[in-house]
């Protein structure tokens, strides 16, 4: 997918999870629970995935997660890639916002069940 310019906004929330890149020993993503909605960005009480890109502005999108159990489940489904942040930390960052994503990899979901 071609990268179109995305609006840059400031978001505020609670940092509750990390996506890790074991090969680079770095953080590749953040899970944030939005405490204060942004009219041009994520809504209050939403959960978003923030992609961390070295040397570039973060970009964020909605995920259909609802609580810490989703992160615990992701850690089981994809060992070594997900980590809870407990207790949650205050989070305030500028990022490029694309509510429905940019065609990146799908995240694990509690609803992922193999269909025979």
């Amino acid at each position: 997918m071609d990268e179109k310019p995305l609006p840059e906004i400031r978001i505020k929330g609670s940092h509750i999870g990390l996506q890790l890149d074991p090969s680079k020993r770095s953080v590749s993503g953040e899970i944030v629970h939005i405490d204060q909605g942004n009219p041009k960005g994520p809504a209050e009480n939403s959960f978003i995935f923030v992609e961390v890109r070295p040397g570039q502005c973060r970009r964020g999108r909605y995920i259909a997660w609802i609580n810490s159990y989703d992160i615990e489940h992701a850690a089981l489904a994809d060992p070594g890639r997900w980590q809870l942040v407990e207790p949650a930390k205050d989070y305030e960052e500028d990022l490029m916002w694309s509510p429905y994503g940019w065609g990146g990899q799908a995240l694990p979901s509690v609803a992922d069940v193999k269909v025979s």
């Binding site: 909605y62 810490s68 159990y69 509510p99």
Partner: protein, 223 residues
């Protein structure tokens, strides 16, 4: 007042925790009107306890009754619900509601002093599939049962109830409504076409179970 009923006893000697589906009785929670069981919505403003309100979502709603029963032989049990939905969607539960609160909010049922919440449970989904298919029915391709058990307030661990906690909550008969919201597993800018939802109610300790179908438009005669 209903007379106390003995719990259903199976041929195997096991007793069942009786729970029966009903049309929902509490109108207005999440702005859903009378006899609305299935309703697709576009993203809207926040309503407390509402899940996925910022995404395209589909409401799923039913009522249930746990009749007065003596719960003999039943102790340490989690309620269980399974729901057949498309494989590219997920569904999440609200707490059990027993009344409408301020505006569009619900008032939660408490058992054992805590609001009743739900946690995803893969074993529940598998059990639902087995029970459903045990009588010749098949889960259609592209669908699967997603399962839940009653949980702690954080919705991370299964919460089981003692016989006395159930007796205290059910009393002379419990009547409540249950809401869910389904959404795309990967959020997308696309409405969800309403569909029939098959739901199973059971528990994790007895063989008792019941399945029913919810429809976007309730058939005349359901009342």
């Amino acid at each position: 007042m209903t007379k106390s009923t003995k719990n259903y006893t199976y041929r195997t000697g096991e007793t069942g925790l009786i729970i029966r589906p009903r049309l929902p009785a509490i109108d207005g929670i999440f702005d859903l009107g009378p006899d609305v069981l299935i309703a697709s919505m576009k993203p809207h403003d926040r309503i407390p306890e509402h899940l996925h309100d910022h995404l395209y979502h589909m409401h799923i709603r039913y009522g249930f009754e746990i009749p007065r029963q003596d719960f003999s032989g039943i102790d340490g049990v989690a309620l269980l619900v399974v729901m057949m939905i498309p494989v590219d969607q997920r569904v999440d539960c609200n707490p059990i509601f027993v009344a409408r609160g301020e505006r569009s909010e619900g008032v939660c049922l408490k058992i054992g002093g805590e609001d009743v919440h739900w946690v995803h449970d893969e074993d529940a989904g598998k059990r639902g599939t087995e029970l459903y298919e045990a009588t010749g029915r098949k889960v259609p391709k592209g669908y699967r049962f997603q399962g839940f058990k009653t949980s702690d307030l954080d919705e991370r661990k299964v919460r089981r109830y003692s016989r006395n906690e159930l007796k205290a909550a059910v009393g002379l008969g419990l009547r409540a409504d249950q809401h869910f919201q389904a959404t795309w597993i990967e959020p997308r800018d696309e409405p969800i076409e309403p569909y029939d939802v098959i739901i199973g109610l059971a528990d994790d300790a007895t063989p008792y179970h019941t399945f029913f179908r919810l429809q976007p438009t309730v058939s005349l005669g359901s009342w």
